[in-house]
Symmetry: C2
Subunit: 347 residues, 2 copies
Amino acid sequence: MIGKAYKQPLARRRVGLKFLYLKQEEVVEAGVLDFEAALKDVEEVLRMLARGEVEMPPKVGLEFLFPDGSQKGHILAMPAYLKRLGVAGVKWAAGFFKNPELHSLPHGIDVIILSDPECGRPLAVMDGTLITAVRTGSAAAVGAKYLSAGEARVASVIGVGVVGRAAAHALEKALPRLEEIRLFDLKAEKARLVAQEIAKARAVYSLEEAARGSDVVITATSSHNHFVKLDMLKRDCVCVEVGKNEFEEAVILNASRIVVDYWEQVKSREWVTLTKLVKRGLISESRIEEIAGIVASGGRVSCGGIRFFSPIGMACEDIIVAYRLYREALRRGFGTWLELWEEPLWS
Amino acid sequence: MIGKAYKQPLARRRVGLKFLYLKQEEVVEAGVLDFEAALKDVEEVLRMLARGEVEMPPKVGLEFLFPDGSQKGHILAMPAYLKRLGVAGVKWAAGFFKNPELHSLPHGIDVIILSDPECGRPLAVMDGTLITAVRTGSAAAVGAKYLSAGEARVASVIGVGVVGRAAAHALEKALPRLEEIRLFDLKAEKARLVAQEIAKARAVYSLEEAARGSDVVITATSSHNHFVKLDMLKRDCVCVEVGKNEFEEAVILNASRIVVDYWEQVKSREWVTLTKLVKRGLISESRIEEIAGIVASGGRVSCGGIRFFSPIGMACEDIIVAYRLYREALRRGFGTWLELWEEPLWS
């Protein structure tokens, strides 16, 4: 066994290193469901990104398979450093599609660590599960706002699981001129329940009823089928593909603008329809725009036709929201203080 | 503000999701300083790696600069999945060289999250700072053991900061036939203090005194100078470069075997001497071996000449050690249980 000699630090005594822990209930208390704040955060971090004030390598991850070789889930490590705000962090983001049925757990389970860019110490550890939903829904709504020139009257959300539900809330705040938000889900009861939360929302009972005539169509399903067809859509609308591959190829091929959040990251996802179309030479890489540039330019896209937006989620969006919640918890004095150490050995 | 409607989960109630938090003192209590166990862990995970039982993408990270553009530090996200053990995780590893002088903090500050590969939930969050030191020292000693055929009589450790100190402890356990472990540090007092912890160790007062005649030379400094020269070394010895670029090019160019831990990862580090020599065409990539293959083959390398080993550290080494400590804490019932949530909203 190890003797007491280890207990004598070589350097002088140091005080304990503390960080704040926030469970999901405290993340809610700190305001994660404040969509106006989340929209502001997302727009701000997109402007930072456009100005080169964000360091964010593409996410890397692990993949987990069932014994039969089919996909069980993945966990992604998503680091980002927001230079202007002076905060860095990582989201460790799990996605296991069968969790609800197999384990009575949510599909996504995320943990976020915030770090001090001066010395690398952890500032906070917190549940990132709702943060993920809220920032994803907000990013979709920011896209809808800038790509519709704020003129949209009717929006629809296809799939109102956690992310679609967040997108519906975010749409309501991002596009105040909206008259109607149509919600469609294969589980009609879900759409009805979410509709009760949002004044302008109503549940609809078919995909066509949702999509036809909508100025904004957001898909947030786990389907890999191209179930949204070009002929369901208005000739002039914004399509936001938050899920996997919900829009058929013709939608993208006929789009007047093709926008992503982070092309380097989208490009590496071979199963994304847009990536496939680029690889097959049907869409030129030079046509692909990033949303950050559009938001930063301040103007909104008012050209007609289909504006297709494919955001796959960026760590910087998580970190800016998490940092706001951390500061709010600090200000109001809640959360659990933990020590990384009382006194570091061997340093 | 957000109404109470948010508090009604769509799905049925679920119980709180808990995970275990271990601060450094508890990581110590769980046995992080048990070098025999750490050596066993490192050897085991190298065998798993050789058998394809480890998923481990190259680490990605963030870089931090001082206002003058010089390097302040970095934080790396290091994920790994140990399939046979059924555990995944990530180390979020900060390295800020000036921390001791600027902030009275250690140079390295690490946090590890362990995750359940069945559903992605966090199992544990813990301090990873000492784990990093111990697994790094142990990996160096495992290299020394397999590349010296266990025949080494004299070893030296150049630089006895946290990692060098761990390497000295690990050497003592890994190579029981060692007669002498020479410790050299620019701060002579450090070498004397560490020497008191290890029966066979003694402090020496010059680099030459350490290196000359040594069968194993481990460098663990933050120097970028090639201060270990070929003519200081025995013709038949094992060189382990744990630090940056301590061995001059001639040492590598004259090596009979060149071994790394994870070539894909070493290759991407352009500042590593070995990488530079490969890029310049002076060493063929085909000559580079990985330590996992050597350990898994069971035999030890007994060829003469210089065996050069450059381990830069692998996430799988962190995860296997962290998982042992987590299980030990579970078994003995210490650590702090935290809830990720009492009841997940919106799921």
